[in-house]
Amino acid sequence: MTYLNYQDKYLPLELYAATVVDVCIARGVNINKLLRGTGVFKADIIKGEHASPSQILRLFSNAQALTPGYDCAFQIGRRLAANQQNTVMQALHYSRSFEESLRLVTLFENICSPFIAATFIKQNGSGYWLLKQKLGLGKLEQFVMEIFCTALVSLSQHVLGHRVKFYFGFQWQKPKQIQEYEENLGYRTYFEQPANVIAVQWSSLAKSNVNRNDLLKRHAIHKANKLIMCKFSLLEHVRYLIAGSPIAPLPQIAEQLKTSPATLKRKLKEHGSSFKQLHDEVRKHQAIHCLILQGLNNEQSALLMDISDATNFRRSIKRWTGYTPSELKKTCDFLPLIVLPS
């Protein structure tokens, strides 16, 4: 079975490395120190070669360690969204509407968002993304999430001429550098949430692009066409299988992946994860989907989630999310978004 690996070189350096280098050099970081240990060389960036996720993650971690101040991730996110060197990014900039830009992000997912996977849920006029790691990010999770969210906000600014009002829920505590969140993501940020989630009113996405140019967009897509990869990471494969049969144990999932349980365990460990962790995450997201986003009651949710009785349901939800169903609703009280009739 094939899936995306840390070592596969498919990330364009002119998009990722050039952006990181730009941000760090402007903040007085030595480029040789920044590239040390990443296996990326200046010449590779100039030639427009490709790097693997593990190389880019090394670069992120160097950037995080070497750059003074708190704005490193946010600046990288901003500049990634503004980068028009890359054909995929050009396509996003010339799209018909912001909604189409986001659709293109999904199409070129492995280029636009190599580290974060987002399950999209559309419910009652609102859109929600539940964010997950595609590859194990370890300590870099917050850094990469910050990049991802800032890039999303910046993209909306470029495409629509103003920022879309996104709501962000993050799993970590309210950070010291809250001013960077305010400045780059806005004031609708909520911390210590059970999952990393983005919410938005659907109507604000459907607005048309101020730079719309159909011919240039189609040209960019044509050029970028060969970059489409219908490949998923191991974590996504396993999540998909768990979601399909939530009570299946590890050996059954391993069998479906045509590998042995021991190998699967080892591979998951290499990705900084485990079967239990993935299973809990999938179930947690299902719980949030049913209880919060769809606003179902416990019985309906239990039925949908294939759990037999009410006490069992409460206990399971507590185990997966850290909260009982009623506590969960309280914690995520900024969700679901209430859409005002316009």
Binding site: P68, R78, Q179
Partner: protein, 309 residues
């Protein structure tokens, strides 16, 4: 460690090298080797480390200070001191012959002279610091922590500012706060590039500094946003000040990328008085939201103008 300053002190480097080598030349010519049994290891370790650290001090003084009177005297004094220290170490291994026994009497004299020079240098350094403190007025407020300086604007980051504002609250002094944001800065960045954007931020920082009183403090908040603390200022004064900054930024003809055509940029401000008993964070948040609303207002006005046109 950044050594670029080191090579600008050619004459001082010569002095340092002479003071470093001369003791060896002198002692090898004038002394007789001691037997190994005569070595006193505790003395060798003690005096040796003093000499070694003095050498490091000279090098770090040369590497961290630009050429000038204070640097010259510091290095000269330290070099004299180092000279004596080195003689001290070497005479653990060598003995003077009878006709040069006077050397052991005079070997500590350079150290004494060096100490005197250094004392004068330290006094001058004190004067220099006072002068520099005056230069740093409005960038810094009764406290120095270089690790909190923002590299892009060379102002302090907001955590420093927050500490100072809290201090002022504790001392029961009221102050006005101004938050300032550049209009449409992301478009500016798109148009002229991020390097020019960073340079513009630096220029705005200078402009704000020029508009402040000596006791005020400006820091970079985040992105293109600045915060200003005006101790003992009334709301009316602060509003005036904010307006003056707005005016001066509006009139700057910024030349991006060496172009001759100028780019004009505007800023918007929000002002509030910080009382000793109010929450600083809440005050800041309210100011920031006020600024964001102003930006939306400006956007919708612009859109309406387009529609009318």
């Amino acid at each position: 460690m950044n050594l670029s300053l080191l090579w600008r002190h050619t004459s001082l480097l010569v002095v340092f090298t002479v003071c470093l080598l001369l003791p060896f030349v002198l002692m090898i010519n004038l002394g007789i080797a001691k037997d190994v049994e005569e070595y006193k290891w505790t003395d060798i370790i003690g005096e040796g480390s003093v000499a070694l650290l003095t050498i490091l001090w000279v090098i770090s003084a040369l590497a961290s200070r630009p050429p000038g009177l204070v640097t010259r005297m510091l290095v000269l004094g330290l070099s004299c001191f180092m000279f004596s220290c080195l003689l001290d170490v070497i005479d653990e291994f060598l003995r003077y012959d009878s006709e040069h026994i006077w050397m052991s009497m005079v070997e500590s004299i350079p150290a004494a002279i060096g100490m005197i020079i250094m004392s004068v240098a330290l006094y001058l350094w004190h004067l220099e610091q006072l002068a520099l403190n005056r230069q740093l007025q409005r960038r810094e407020f009764e406290h120095r922590s270089f690790e909190k300086i923002d590299v892009i604007t060379q102002l302090y980051r907001v955590d420093y500012w927050r500490e100072r504002a809290e201090e002022i609250q504790q001392r029961n002094i009221s102050a006005a706060i101004v938050v300032l944001d550049i209009n449409d800065f992301s478009n500016f960045n798109l148009k002229f590039g991020d390097t020019e954007g960073d340079r513009f931020l630096r220029e705005v920082a200078h402009l704000i500094l020029m508009n402040l009183r000596p006791m005020d403090l400006v820091s970079r908040y985040a992105g293109d946003r600045f915060v200003i603390l005006l101790p003992e200022s009334t709301l009316a004064n602060a509003v005036d000040m904010a307006e003056q900054v707005e005016n001066s930024v509006k009139n700057v003809a910024f030349k991006a990328n060496e172009q001759t055509t100028a780019a004009f940029q505007s800023v918007r401000t929000a002002v509030r008085v910080l009382m000793p008993n109010t929450s600083l964070q809440q005050c800041l948040t309210e100011l920031n939201i006020e600024l964001d609303n102003k930006s939306q207002l400006a956007n919708s006005l612009q859109n309406n103008q387009h529609k009318v046109a």
